[in-house]
Amino acid sequence: MFEVESLRSGGRPPVSFRLQAGERVCLWGPSGCGKTRLLRALVDLDPSEGAVSLKGTRREQVPAALWRRRVALLPAESRWWAATVGEHFADPGAVPFARLGLDPQAADWSVERLSSGERQRLALLRVLAGRPEVLLLDEPTANLDAASSERVEALIGQYLADSGAACLWVSHDREQRRRLCARSLAMNAEGELAA
């Protein structure tokens, strides 16, 4: 469903892989090997060469903004530009805040007072609200305690099952990879991928 063929960005070696519909694949490798760079190239945020296509449509055929809605990246650090949480959602009333252990009134919160864990969970809800077809997650549970991590894993699992979206999940946690992904991609320090 999501096909990447000889993708090259920033002088890194070419990368190829495929994701099936509903499939969740883990990506791991040493710090600085280029995982984040690969994710940025996949959403076309950095210039890159090679073929990336979603359900047979190549990325060049789709306007960039639409491509990034269909292939969505959740970066490790989230950014909030408006005053309240709710202003970052198209329909704040429909966001399942409670599913991630957040106050149902979280939409009214000021972004100033968010903790790093709250920011991380809210950023996930924000990206899911766009109903992406491919979900690229850069360590989505890095700042979370065990209970919150579990809720995040459950919510993502349900989203993938309901929508048939594919998911590439960057995780440094071997236990988490074993738990979540039937298939893993390992990136070595040079930036080469191995199954």
Partner: protein, 263 residues
């Protein structure tokens, strides 16, 4: 009108010298800059005085056009030099020049032909001061706006990219920055209009009154100039922000800060 002698100017220059000497120990860099700028003023204004004298004696569209082109080229350089982070290559110079050209030049032309209506319309006595005032103010506004734009884009790059990642267009992603950038370019003009006559007596009007013009006539000229400057600086800033934002992103709506150079 009472004319000034070289002595009169020398006495005024003493004031600048005195300031530089007083400030020398505490602000050594600035004292030097002060003297260099004062020297530039004296030399540049003397030269333009001679140029205008020759131009008035010899009214020709070619010479007026040539002087206008030189003024535009220098203004473009000043816009570029005042930016901490500027676009690399021809864009660093081109955005300012193009914006000033389409605003200041067309408004000066409009004012000369339609409003002033002298025959010939390019009479240098009107054309050069008018263009000079328009260019000078437009230059300041565009320089402020472009400097703010590139600096804000740099500082807020993560927020801009966060919005792009959520599927926002490049225009949406910089909408907040854009508001502030345009504001920073136009606020000086709004302030100048608001304070005119109450706090400050604008230079052109003062000059005409010193030269013996009736105050009410001088005021009419000043009001026209203020409006022309507002149009010139405002439209110039609009154009510069538009071009600058376009250059910040590429055809795939990626934020391209690699196109900026630090000076």
């Amino acid at each position: 009108m009472t004319t000034l002698s070289a002595w009169d100017l020398a006495i005024a220059a003493l004031l600048v010298l005195l300031l530089a000497v007083t400030a020398r120990d505490m602000y050594p860099g600035l004292a030097r800059q002060l003297l260099v700028a004062a020297l530039r003023t004296a030399v540049q204004l003397t030269l333009i005085g001679l140029v205008l004298k020759a131009l008035f004696a010899n009214v020709s569209l070619l010479w007026v056009g040539l002087l206008a082109a030189v003024m535009l080229a220098v203004a473009g350089y000043e816009v570029m030099a005042r930016q901490h982070r500027r676009f690399g290559g021809a864009w660093g110079y081109g955005i300012g020049v193009l914006s000033m050209f389409i605003s200041s030049f067309s408004i000066a032309l409009f004012a000369l032909v339609v409003v002033v209506g002298h025959d010939p319309w390019y009479q240098p006595q009107y054309a050069i001061p008018l263009l000079g005032m328009l260019l000078g103010n437009t230059m300041s506004s565009i320089a402020l706006a472009l400097d703010r734009l590139t600096q804000s884009a740099w500082e807020q790059r993560e927020t801009i990219e966060a919005r792009l990642l959520l599927g926002h267009s490049a225009a949406e992603a910089v909408s907040g920055i854009r508001q502030q950038v345009f504001r920073s370019g136009v606020i000086p003009i709004i302030n100048a209009m608001a304070a005119a006559g109450l706090v400050s007596l604008p230079g052109m009007m003062t000059g005409q009154i010193l030269a013996g013009a009736p105050p009410v006539e001088a005021v009419k000229y000043q009001i026209m100039i203020m409006f022309l400057i507002t149009g010139g600086a405002g439209f110039g800033t609009l154009a510069a922000v538009r071009l600058g934002v376009r250059r910040l992103f590429d055809e795939r709506e990626r934020l391209r800060l690699d196109r900026l150079r630090v000076y």
